[in-house]
């Protein structure tokens, strides 16, 4: 996890296309400039960044299910809950699910766990938009491969 670069997911552990589920893992870094402000002397993973973790987790699943022909853009967050504090060094597991793939949008959920206990959860709405450029699509392909998504297997 590199908070400053919004690289929230370290590795995709499992994608179940039939069940429309994804499981990913990441470790909150021990050091980050984010923790210099949030908070001085008491580093705590910001809730907004846990939302980003959840958005990326289910977002990658939407990309996979859609064959990487368009990109999901986070459009709405509902029922976001942060049940326990998350600290530097915590190993997190996120499980995302796509509930509905509509025309130009998708609805999903995600939950994050630490030591098997739910630390955050949210309902997520995405718009599905064309990639702005072919080059940007390639950037996302490269990113997906770095976190162990078999892009060639899923891309249409």
């Amino acid at each position: 996890m590199q908070l400053e670069y919004f690289q929230m997911i370290d590795r995709v552990v499992e994608i179940d296309v039939g069940a429309r589920r994804i499981r990913v893992v990441c470790t909150v870094p021990q050091q980050s400039t984010v923790f210099e402000g949030h908070f001085p002397g008491y580093p705590l993973m910001p809730g907004v960044l846990l939302i980003e973790c959840m958005a990326q987790t289910t977002g990658w699943l939407i990309s996979v299910l859609g064959g990487f022909v368009a990109m999901p853009i986070l459009a709405g967050v509902k029922e976001a809950k942060f049940r326990s504090p998350v600290f530097p060094g915590n190993l997190l597991e996120f499980e995302g699910h796509v509930q509905h793939e509509g025309s130009g949008y998708a609805i999903g959920q995600c939950a994050g766990r630490h030591d098997g206990k739910v630390v955050c959860e949210a309902d997520l709405t995405y718009r599905i938009m064309p990639y702005p450029t072919p080059q940007f699509r390639q950037v996302l392909f490269d990113w997906a491969e770095r976190i162990d998504i078999a892009v060639k297997e899923f891309a249409k």
């Binding site: 459009a75 709405g76 509905h100 509509g102 130009g104 949008y105 609805i107 709405t125 718009r127």
Partner: protein
């Protein structure tokens, strides 16, 4: 049994917090009820779920952008309800 329009109107009232009595068959979702595109995604999701269909929003948007259709054809609620009925019928065919 409630009509398609009644179901759509109930969805809009609940999703967008619009008084049910203000939602009429001749209401335009965007121009009259001032529903924005993000709220319309919630409505589309509820409609998709309720009727077991997939509203072709991308196709409709493309047709409007290309000048091949007007927003009235898809977003006046009477017309939207007719579109839903057609999609439901096509699904059952």
């Amino acid at each position: 049994m409630s009509s398609t329009f009644d179901k759509v109107a109930d969805i809009i009232a609940e999703t967008c917090d619009i008084p049910r009595e203000n939602i009429k068959p001749e209401s335009h979702a965007i121009n009259d009820l001032e529903i924005d595109s993000l709220d319309f995604l919630d409505i589309a999701f509820a409609i998709d779920k309720t009727f077991g269909i997939k509203l072709p929003l991308e196709q409709w948007t493309q047709e409007v952008n290309d000048g091949k259709a007007t927003t009235d054809q898809y977003f006046v609620l009477r017309n939207l309800s007719e579109q839903i009925d057609k999609l439901v019928a096509a699904k059952g065919a």
